[in-house]
């Protein structure tokens, strides 16, 4: 009995020891590579503004129904419940107006709020932990330069045990390491800047890297693609077939700066937001750095690889204004919808008109038989401002039935991707509910 108690105590001690060891904080302030858009000699507020933009804080910390920037309230519907982003304006009551530098740095890099409670990793402290203290404080300086917005936080909607914030300590012990960015001396300064921009700051992996059973990133599958809030974040490894290995530097740059790469892709959904709020505002040198780094991401096939057919039969048989090569019977319903509501912008040959963003040819969206992003785009539409132009597609979800949306998505996949679409009305219904 006594021996058993000793074992228990020892195990507890080891466990507690391990818990604290695994949850230890990296005491290093960290050093960031030099970014073109945030030179070290710049005013901290101006630096902070650029870093805040590069980290795209506003995308998550702003509610979509007309919310004030950075005032929080955006819902994240996760498999285990809904959580809401927080108010990070300097409002003293409802925002972070009373937070000290150390409190802010701890929150951003360790995931622990001012009151000592754990944050959920929907806030990507797992990536931000690598930021330098100077960069984090620059972001704080910028946020504190903004007008305070009084907007109380929305309580999360999580069931037990997920509503137990303390339990995140164990999640952190298992999946999180507090550590600063380490420059790779064997690489160019540009590559290191790209690694910092795409890693800790831009946190690409948060969407593009597959997650494990514990909702943590599978580092062995880095950037090989994942589904986030119904949208597919594509494989952005250097794999030539499934990733972006075949894209030219120019195409990648064009995409990152405008959300559209000719013959490859037009951003929408969460990536559209990333372009609109963040990437289009980067200094060209920083975009180039990101491209340099992306080029070196090891090629991976990912779980559900997409093979782009750049010249599917029906699309090739079509002209800009008339379809060809469709199956008159199987495609009839989708074609009928497409010719009414879609063809005047997308065109039958996939070239797109009025805006280049309407081009569908060669995109992974129309080559994904599951049709995640095609279906989401039909339901939710696209609305973003890139440079001096509005990029807009109406959200058709409100007036078109699940059957129609599924038929239209499958038609688009077959016509522009040459593949049998697998979208069912039930899928569409599920997406609406999400």
């Amino acid at each position: 009995m006594r021996r058993f108690l000793i074992i228990v105590v020892v195990l507890l001690a080891v466990g507690v020891g391990a818990y604290f060891f695994l949850n230890r904080t990296d005491p290093d302030d960290g050093t960031a590579p030099v970014l073109a858009g945030a030179p070290t000699n710049a005013d901290p507020v101006a630096r902070g503004e650029y870093l805040t933009t590069a980290a795209d804080c506003v995308a998550c910390h702003t509610s979509h129904d007309g919310g004030k920037p950075f005032a929080g309230g955006l819902a994240f519907k996760l498999p285990f419940g809904t959580i809401y982003s927080s108010n990070i304006t300097p409002d003293k009551e409802t925002g972070i107006g009373t937070w000290t530098d150390d409190e802010f740095v701890r929150a951003v890099r360790e995931g622990i709020r001012k009151d000592g409670k754990h944050l959920y990793p929907a806030f990507p402290y797992t990536a931000y932990t690598q930021l330098s203290r100077a960069d984090v404080l620059a972001i704080k300086a910028y946020l504190f330069s903004l007008p305070p917005v009084h907007q109380p936080e929305k309580p999360n909607e999580l069931g037990f045990p997920f509503n137990q914030r303390w339990a995140m300590g164990f999640w952190n012990a298992a999946f999180f390491r507090s550590q600063r960015f380490q420059a790779d001396a064997s690489r160019s300064p540009e590559w290191n800047a790209g690694a910092y921009l795409g890693g800790p700051l831009g946190h690409c992996a948060e969407c593009h890297t597959p997650r494990n059973f514990g909702f943590a990133l599978k580092h062995g599958e880095a950037l090989a693609g994942e589904v986030v809030q119904g949208w597919r974040a594509y494989n952005i490894t250097s794999d030539p077939t499934h990733g972006i290995g075949k894209w030219s530097d120019e195409a990648l740059t064009q995409y990152l700066r405008t959300g559209h790469a000719e013959g490859h892709a037009s951003a929408n959904g969460p990536m559209g937001e990333a372009i609109a709020y963040s990437l289009q505002h980067w200094k060209p040198e920083d975009t180039a750095a990101l491209v340099t780094w992306l080029r070196t991401v090891p090629a991976r096939e990912g779980d559900d690889p997409i093979v782009v057919d750049a010249a599917p039969k029906a699309m090739v048989a079509s002209s800009a204004v008339a379809p060809g090569g469709d199956d008159g019977k199987a495609d009839a319903e989708g074609l009928r919808l497409f010719e009414g509501a879609c063809a005047s912008c997308h065109q039958w040959n996939g070239a797109g008109q009025q805006t280049a963003y309407a081009a569908l040819a060669g995109t992974r969206g129309v080559n994904d038989p599951k049709g995640a992003n095609v279906t989401e785009a039909i339901l939710e539409g696209v609305k973003m401002r890139i440079g001096d132009n509005d990029v807009y597609m109406p959200a058709f979800g409100h007036a078109y039935s699940d059957t129609e949306v599924a038929a239209l998505a499958n038609y688009v996949i077959r016509h522009f991707g040459g593949k049998q679409g697998e979208v069912t009305p039930a899928d569409v219904a599920k997406r609406r509910a999400e």
Partner: protein
């Protein structure tokens, strides 16, 4: 017309007679209202007091015998249109009526918009207001305008005869030329116009018999077509006024919400943005062009203040209507005669008809220039004099200070019977010195439509041993359009005649009929308005669906069942038989999941039957395959227009029934543009045939008839195809494609068709 309601027990009969006499439409309401204020002047074929001023304003044409005809010294014949043209082809119809009697070719007439004047252009069927609506134009002008043409012709002939010193009866008129038949001498209208203007007008004129018509009854080309195919037609939105600026507007999306703080710094920083103007509930950005104005509007940071509707949504509203339906008080629109049979099979149902937007292709707009003591307006409206009155009120000037320049309407459908957009434009324009064109974006147009009312209906009948109803009870619950739009036209008991049209006056020979209406006050800001087909559009959906339900319950064919309830020789029976014959009712068996639905009614002084053939796919999608419409509209002025109105009207109604319903969330209309407020497209249009019954009866309305009969024909076809009875519109969302239960039934078609939902 004497349509004063009788008192006591007989009042119901009086009301029914009024309905029968006038046909129906907005008209009815006005017809049987006594005491709408002092007797109003209205259109007259002869010169009247107000005519002199109008002629003077028109540059004193050589001959202006009435408010409509102007003959200039060069012989040009101009017709001033008492109604407005919004697609219904009334400019052509009126021109034909006038030309027929005046003795000119349709090609010789130049049509002109009328200036605002109830006295000269008041519609007799609408209380004498200068109003185009309710499918009343042809009905209300048929007599007066032919007579106006005849008066003008006889006066011109008299002038020529006087010059020749011959008997006027020895003269004939053709293509604007008067001929003295015995001598062959001729004089053009222009040559005698001046002289004719000085002659007394004939006290009586004899109008042509139908057999003598040269124009009326022929499919004449519309007078407005040539300009409409080359982009030349001037709609309100095309107004170009020197010095004009353009505004884009946003009104509180939450109905009855108000404007809080507006930060306009970013908007004003846009080059080309001129002004930011505010009202209690709206803000406008003024710029050099509409697109810049829209950019400016997007750049505003606006705080809206919640009002009473912050928590209003569609389902709450429906629940409130249902509550009112249960609790009343109900006004009686038709009293049952005789005793209901003690027993029989009771059939009951309830129906929901959604709110609907008009979405005319031309978004609402008005151009307004306010200067001291004056307000000039350019717009397309169905109610010119109402616009003038509102502008005068807002500017605090007499009505004489308001000038309204009419334009062609890019669709009306009832939306332009309202003045709200013009009022708003005036309120903005009076804040600036320059002419201001205010255009509502499509999003504003839909989010601030004055929607077709939401209706909740409970209806029941008891069937006798022969399957025919021995009693019929129908309780309609809704807001009132008439009660706001023309409160004086409401019945003394508070009845809204529009709400019960085509419900109280059934084409079926039944005595024990009770029709009631419960008035449900809509929340402030949710303003309901006239929508093409008005009351009958809703009532025919309920009545004709329910008759179909009774036929099913009685185990009878829907056509045979209706026949058994109609009086032999009735005009409604006539159109129904014609439609049934043309589609081959009961002939070849139809493919699986294909059904035909029939609906018949007598709205707007006409009689109409539509038979729709529809397929329901296994996935629950509805396809229109074929439709046949038979119409008896009395004497036809222009058969081409009748065909066009029946085609367009039916498709307008079918599109709405398939797709449309305005819904509310947090007090705001959720729909905004054609992606979420769908419109029928050409690839959804069925094979469509229109047949007319030859008739000597007075002309009936045609603009709204097709729309009013569409929905029940469609839902009855869906029932015939699937056994699924849709008691709520629209069809497309949720009820078939998204209902697992419905899909199971659709898949199982071929077996027993059951009544569900």
């Amino acid at each position: 017309m004497n349509a004063r309601r009788d008192q006591g027990d007989a009042f119901d009969a009086g009301r029914r007679n009024a309905l029968r006499a006038a046909g129906s439409g907005l008209a009815v309401a006005f017809l049987w209202t006594a005491g709408m204020g002092p007797a109003v002047a209205q259109m007259s074929p002869r010169r009247q007091a107000a005519d002199a001023a109008a002629a003077a304003a028109d540059g004193n044409p050589a001959f202006a015998p009435n408010a409509f005809v102007r003959v200039d010294a060069d012989g040009a014949v101009r017709l001033v249109m008492p109604a407005v043209e919004m697609g219904q082809a009334i400019y052509t119809g009126i021109s034909m009526m006038l030309a027929e009697e005046l003795g000119v070719g349709l090609d010789q007439i130049r049509v002109e918009h009328s200036p605002p004047s109830d006295a000269l252009y008041g519609q007799p069927l609408l209380g004498g207001g200068q109003i185009t609506g309710g499918s009343t134009s042809t009905r209300g002008q048929w007599q007066a305008l032919r007579e106006a043409g005849a008066v003008a012709r006889e006066t011109l002939v008299a002038a020529a005869a006087a010059q020749w010193h011959v008997d006027p009866t020895s003269c004939s008129v053709a293509r604007g030329v008067i001929t003295h038949v015995p001598s062959g001498r001729t004089l053009g209208f222009g040559a005698v116009a001046e002289a004719a203007g000085k002659l007394p007008q004939p006290a009586t004129v004899t109008l042509k018999q139908r057999k003598d018509f040269m124009l009326i009854g022929k499919p004449m080309r519309r007078v407005d077509s040539p300009d409409k195919v080359n982009g030349g037609t001037q709609f309100g939105i095309d107004a170009k006024i020197p010095g004009m600026k353009v505004a884009s507007v946003i009104t509180s999306p939450e109905l009855a919400g108000t404007l809080g703080k507006v930060d306009d710094a970013k908007a004003r920083a846009i080059p080309g943005v001129v002004d930011v103007l505010r009202l209690d509930n709206a803000v406008a950005v003024v710029a050099d062009n509409f697109w810049l104005a829209q950019r400016g509007l997007d750049a505003l940071d606006i705080e809206w203040k919640h009002g009473v509707n912050a928590n209003l949504d569609t389902e709450t509203l429906i629940a409130a209507l249902q509550e009112s339906s249960r609790n009343g008080p109900a006004l009686i629109g038709r009293k049952p005669k005789g005793e209901a049979a003690a027993d029989g099979k009771l059939i009951e149902a309830s129906y929901i008809s959604p709110m609907l937007a008009h979405a005319p292709m031309e978004p609402l707009n008005a151009t307004v220039h306010v200067t001291p003591g004056k307000c000039e307006i350019w717009t397309g409206t169905q109610v010119p004099t109402r616009c003038v009155a509102e502008a005068a009120r807002i500017c605090g000037i007499p009505a004489e200070g308001v000038v309204l320049n009419a334009a062609y309407l890019g669709g009306g459908f009832g939306r332009r019977l309202e003045t709200d957009q013009v009022e708003q434009a005036v309120a903005f324009a009076r804040q600036v010195g320059y002419p201001l064109k205010v255009i509502w974006s499509r999003e504003e147009d839909i989010r601030h439509d004055r929607v077709r009312p939401l209706y909740f209906d409970r209806i029941s009948a008891t069937l006798g041993a022969d399957g025919k109803p021995t009693s019929w009870k129908h309780r309609i619950t809704s807001g009132t359009v008439l009660g706001r739009w023309a409160p004086g036209a409401m019945g003394k008991d508070g009845m809204d005649s529009d709400a019960i049209e085509s419900a109280a006056d059934l084409p079926y020979d039944m005595d024990n009929v009770l029709v009631e209406w419960v008035r449900h006050e809509m929340p402030p800001g949710l303003v309901v308005g006239w929508w093409r087909g008005v009351g009958p559009t809703h009532n025919l959906f309920v009545v004709e669906s329910f008759v179909d339900e009774l036929a099913h319950a009685a185990g009878k064919d829907p056509l045979e069942y209706r026949r058994s309830l109609m009086k032999p020789g009735s005009r409604a029976l006539g159109v129904m038989n014609l439609a049934a014959e043309k589609i081959g009712w009961g002939g070849q068996p139809l493919p699986a999941r294909v059904g035909r639905g029939i609906a018949v009614g007598s709205p707007f002084g006409s009689h109409v039957c539509a038979i729709v053939e529809a397929e329901v796919t296994e996935q629950g999608q509805v396809r229109l395959r074929k439709a046949v419409v038979a119409i008896d509209n009395g004497i036809t002025i222009n058969p081409s227009s009748v065909q066009a109105q029946m085609q367009g009207g039916l498709l307008f109604g079918l599109g709405a029934a398939l797709y449309n319903g305005i819904t509310l969330k947090n007090g705001a209309i959720e729909q905004s543009n054609f992606h979420d407020y769908r419109s029928l497209r050409i690839n959804e249009v069925p094979e469509l045939e229109v047949y007319s019954v030859e008739s000597d009866e007075v002309p009936g309305g045609i603009g709204e008839v097709g729309t009013a009969i569409a929905a029940p024909a469609l839902t009855n076809a869906i029932f015939a195809a699937t056994g699924i009875r849709l008691r709520r519109l629209p069809v497309a969302l949720a009820q078939l494609a998204a209902s697992p239960d419905a899909l199971k039934r659709v898949a199982a078609v071929g077996g027993e068709k059951e009544d569900v939902a």
